[in-house]
């Protein structure tokens, strides 16, 4: 067993009810159940843990091999689909699985997904997490949705994983491989769609309180209901959580000094939603979420709170799904406003011990309307047309308090996309043909960089452009997928798909010091692209056994890396620093595969195992006219080359137990990190 960092051991106290009548009964049952569950939550210490048997009844993660699974998958095509029809590797994490997972953050649920790698080095005290799929590192290379609505920020490309409440999520749908023909930007390694709960009873709810190590405590509450339990009805929901704790000193004891202090956190998330379901499965739902937090970064010099990061966020979404005969119109409106606040305190290790204190005050706004129409031409043929509009805005300032400097940057990007998708199931539905094409155009405008009252710290930046020219780029994303059912127990799929990730506003319009030198904005930065070829099969030799292998070959072009422009400048210190700029300089190749085996050994005993291989390398790196180390042949960071998982579960009404093994062998551009194993000896 390996513990990377201290994690709070949580001792939860929970309750859950549905309707007043059921409350007493439910409470009684839950006291017994949660007594056991409290022990299960001890598994929060363990990086990976898998569900108990209850979840296996409905969990496609472990039961995707059951061909007649009566579940609809909504993420793959932005319309409801039988997952068995889709020529791609899909994964779903069900509500039942989520309920028994001893996770503290939503992203931790993804660590159990075959081929996914989660990086969260300081546990809940990390200001964010990074999720890698399909051998392409980093959250910005994945599109993250909440109820089908995007949450990736145009500024940095990623999302704030901390702001989601695991208990508020009904299920998570994951498509691996590029899905840009349907979703556009960011969907180059995969799409992760977190679908929130919709109340089924007249009144239902859940609350939880916990206390653990590192003086961590908090609580969660979820309430909801619908005015009429069946038929057309208004429904509503409220969820919230609060957590605070004193963390630990991040720096190892051997290199620690008096400025290294314990991290800390407090965070609060509140969500409300209201919806109305009407005839033919149509519905309209509006939801609002507010999040606020403060996480200490473990350095305190003079300021009582030391360095910290905060991400107050407002998020509003409105979805309207309307069925008109053979047509289904879906409109999604979203507005996300993240107000990033940072306080940084540093003391230079060099002679003179230069003290620096500054704050960052940045607004990152993303808003848009996504629409698509599904035309059910025949029982075996659908046509989808869509129009997506989005605007991303960044407006930030670094305000120095130990000098007069204020650095500002701002920029906007408008996105417009049209797409179409055609799905046909010929030969008495023994085959699925899925073809799609999407055109994206983006305009960068209003880009500017400002320096107010420069001192020796920043006056060297004055020589660089302060107003950036408008730029435009386009992307065409095709896809073609075929799935063939050889018999009831065996099907085969082939697919080709294109994906891309737009350049981040932070790289397009922000100059500033970074650890390696001075970063120069690059308004001409273009998207990264990938082309993915994939083949896979789903084989169920026996009703109790499923085997799902896939192999894929991905070529990435225009991948972005920092390179030197050849200039060096004095940034106020004794030595010159290189001027760096993010540019499209490399080609990447991923050869990968994954296989999942699921076996219901006997009634209460279940076994699952998966293995994923990803050889993600830079195959070309253009250093022409640039000062950069040639990274050709190096591995992408945060991508496990070999990754294996195995778990055996015993699950009955009396006992729920699991034994889990996880292995990851990481690689980086300059070194390979030996594999690490983690074993959950027994989670009861």
């Amino acid at each position: 067993m390996e513990w990377n960092h201290p994690q709070p051991v949580l001792f939860p106290c929970l309750s859950k009810f549905r309707n007043k009548i059921q409350m007493k009964k439910a409470m009684l049952k839950r006291y017994l159940y949660f007594g056991l569950k409290a022990f299960t939550m001890l598994g929060a210490l363990l990086p990976v843990s898998l569900p108990a048997q209850d979840s296996l009844k409905t969990d496609t993660l472990h039961r995707a091999w059951i061909k007649d699974l009566p579940e609809l998958f909504i993420t793959a095509t932005r319309s409801q689909r039988d997952p068995g029809e889709i020529p791609a590797r899909l994964t779903s994490i069900s509500q039942a699985t989520i309920e028994v997972q001893p996770v503290l953050t939503t992203d931790a649920l993804l660590d159990m997904v075959p081929g996914a790698n989660l990086e969260r080095s300081q546990g809940i005290f990390s200001k964010n997490a990074s999720v890698t799929l399909r051998g392409l590192n980093g959250t910005p290379r994945n599109l993250i949705l909440i109820d089908g609505v995007p949450v990736n920020k145009t500024d940095g490309g990623g999302i704030n994983w901390n702001r989601f409440i695991p208990e508020d999520i009904d299920r998570i749908e994951i498509i691996k491989g590029p899905v840009s023909p349907v979703y556009g930007g960011n969907a180059m390694a995969g799409v992760i769609n977190m679908i929130t709960r919709v109340p089924e009873a007249k009144l239902e709810g859940e609350f939880k309180a916990f206390y653990g190590s590192c003086e961590t405590f908090g609580g969660m509450i979820r309430l909801g209901g619908r005015l009429k339990p069946t038929g057309n009805s208004i429904y509503y929901g409220f969820s919230g959580f609060y957590r605070q704790g004193n963390g630990y000193v991040i720096v190892p004891e051997t290199t620690r000094d008096s400025l290294d202090v314990r991290t800390y956190l407090w965070e609060l998330s509140v969500g409300i939603k209201a919806g109305y379901r009407y005839g033919n499965g149509s519905y309209t739902v509006i939801g609002y979420n507010y999040y606020n937090d403060k996480r200490g970064d473990g350095i305190r010099i003079f300021e009582p709170e030391g360095g910290y990061n905060r991400y107050p966020t407002n998020y509003l979404k409105l979805t309207s799904n309307n069925n008109f005969g053979r047509f289904n119109l879906i409109i999604r409106f979203f507005y996300q406003n993240e107000h990033y606040l940072r306080q940084s305190e540093t003391m230079s290790a060099r002679k003179g011990k230069k003290y620096t204190l500054y704050t960052t005050d940045a607004y990152r706004i993303d808003q848009g309307i996504w629409t698509n129409v599904i035309y059910h031409a025949r029982s075996n043929m659908d046509l989808i047309l869509g129009l997506d509009l989005k605007r991303g805005t960044a407006d930030g300032r670094d305000i120095y308090l130990t000098s007069t400097d204020i650095l500002g940057n701002k920029g906007k990007m408008n996105f417009l996309a049209v797409f179409t998708e055609y799905e046909w199931q010929p030969f008495q539905k023994k085959m699925t043909i899925l073809a799609g094409l999407r055109y994206d155009i983006a305009w960068f405008f209003g880009g500017a960089f400002m320096i107010e009252e420069p001192t020796t710290l920043t006056e060297f930046m004055v020589q660089y452009p302060t107003v950036f020219e408008d730029e435009t780029w386009q992307a065409v994303s095709p896809k073609l997928g075929l799935k063939y059912f050889l018999n009831r127990n065996l099907n085969l799929y082939l697919s080709y798909s294109h994906g891309f990730r737009p350049a981040m506003l932070d790289d397009i319009c922000r100059n500033g010091n970074i650890s390696k030198g001075f970063k120069l904005a690059n308004p001409q930065l273009k998207p990264e692209n990938v082309d993915n070829f994939e083949i896979g099969t789903n084989w169920h030799p026996f009703s109790s056994l499923g085997i799902e292998p896939s192999i894929y070959y991905t070529i990435g072009t225009d991948f972005q890396y920092f390179v030197g422009t050849g200039d060096s400048i004095s940034t106020g210190g004794d030595n010159l620093k290189p001027v760096l700029q993010r540019q499209n300089v490399s080609r990447v190749r991923v050869i990968g595969g994954e296989i999942t085996l699921s076996w219901q050994i006997i009634k209460h005993l279940f076994f699952t195992a998966n293995y994923a291989y990803n050889d993600s390398r830079i195959v070309a790196f253009d250093t022409t006219g640039r000062i950069a180390k040639d990274l050709t042949g190096k591995y992408l960071m945060e991508v496990p080359k070999n990754q294996a998982f195995a778990g055996i579960y015993y699950n009955s009404h009396i006992l729920q137990a699991s034994l889990v093994f996880n292995y990851k062998e990481l690689s980086g551009p300059t070194m390979r990190i030996p594999g690490r194993q983690m074993v959950t000896v027994l989670s009861i």
Binding site: L316, K351, L401, T404, T456
Partner: protein, 304 residues
């Protein structure tokens, strides 16, 4: 008469108002939370004790004065202190970050050849409120130039040279090896070594030198570390040779330009410096053997 068409339109449009109202409220909520600086600004004053200059004054070229500053934060700690000098061109003499309720600072100023120098002392507090004071130094018409001491052909060895020392004292005119320099720490103003930036002139208080001169008498173990500030010039070797008083030394001296070391030292280069004691000088590089066992030959002229 009621316009029914407009009424119907209004009723319908209300359905779409809700998201926009919510959006507006969110924007309002966000825009209200921006930082507002407020409170009383910090205060900075000259110390008026005996021996300190606290008013505008007229000085002879090369004349030295001492000023004292006393600052306090009123509604927040002082986080920034800056000294700038304007002699036709504004230059930053000192930028310093701190986080303290008060600040006291002493500064020795040597009058340069410029007719007018405007010194500005600024403090800023945690709320970015500022206060500043100024001191104007005029050059006296009766200025005369001071005497200088000259040291010709000072041979300094790089760190691995066993025949020539790397440490020089303009006070005594002697060159020392590390062990002897350790015994005369307060005299050492100039160090030579050869490394990452080829030939380098520095001083005991420079950051890279301790990694070069190590051992029991290494710079890490020095208790007195003089700091010399250097600045490259465009003075010709011939002009240096003709200098007989401190006029040229003062003319090229830029109070705000000094660095803790001068890198890539080369033959015929003339370098301005000011030592820990506030003496201004010039160094001419006569020649060098570029290696860690090599030497550099210097001529040094410094104010008496």
């Amino acid at each position: 008469m009621i316009d029914m068409q407009k009424l119907t339109y209004r009723k319908k449009s209300r359905k779409y108002l809700i998201p926009w109202i919510l959006t507006g409220l969110i924007s309002l909520n966000s825009s209200c939370s921006k930082n507002d600086s407020g409170g009383d600004p910090p205060r900075i004053r000259f110390i008026t004790d005996t021996g300190f200059v606290s008013h505008d004054t007229t000085l002879k070229t090369g004349q030295r004065i001492r000023i004292g500053l006393d600052a306090e934060g009123m509604d927040g700690n002082i986080t920034f202190f800056q000294i700038s000098v304007d002699n036709g061109v504004r230059q930053i003499f000192l930028d310093s970050g701190l986080n303290s309720a008060g600040l006291q600072y002493r500064l020795d100023i040597i009058k340069t050849v410029n007719p007018v120098e405007k010194w500005t002392f600024l403090v800023m507090d945690r709320n970015r409120n500022k206060d500043s004071i100024q001191l104007i130094l005029n050059k006296s018409d009766s200025s005369h130039y001071g005497q200088i001491r000259s040291f010709a052909d000072v041979l300094l060895g790089a760190q691995e040279n066993s025949t020539a020392g790397s440490f020089f004292s303009p006070t005594t005119g002697f060159v020392y090896f590390l062990d002897m320099a350790f015994l005369n720490q307060s005299l050492i103003d100039l160090i030579y070594y050869y490394g990452l930036y080829d030939g380098t002139l520095s001083s005991p208080n420079e950051s890279d030198a301790p990694a070069v001169f190590t051992g029991p008498t290494g710079l890490v173990n020095w208790t007195v570390k003089n700091e010399t500030r250097y600045d490259t010039t465009s003075i010709s070797p011939q002009a240096f040779d003709l200098t007989e008083n401190d006029s040229l030394l003062l003319a090229v001296y830029e109070p705000a330009a000094g660095k803790r070391k001068v890198k890539y030292v080369a033959k015929d280069q003339v370098i301005s410096f000011k030592n820990q004691a506030g003496k201004i000088g010039l160094i001419k590089v006569n020649g060098m053997e570029p290696s860690s066992t090599g030497t550099v030959s210097l001529s040094v002229k410094i104010q008496e």
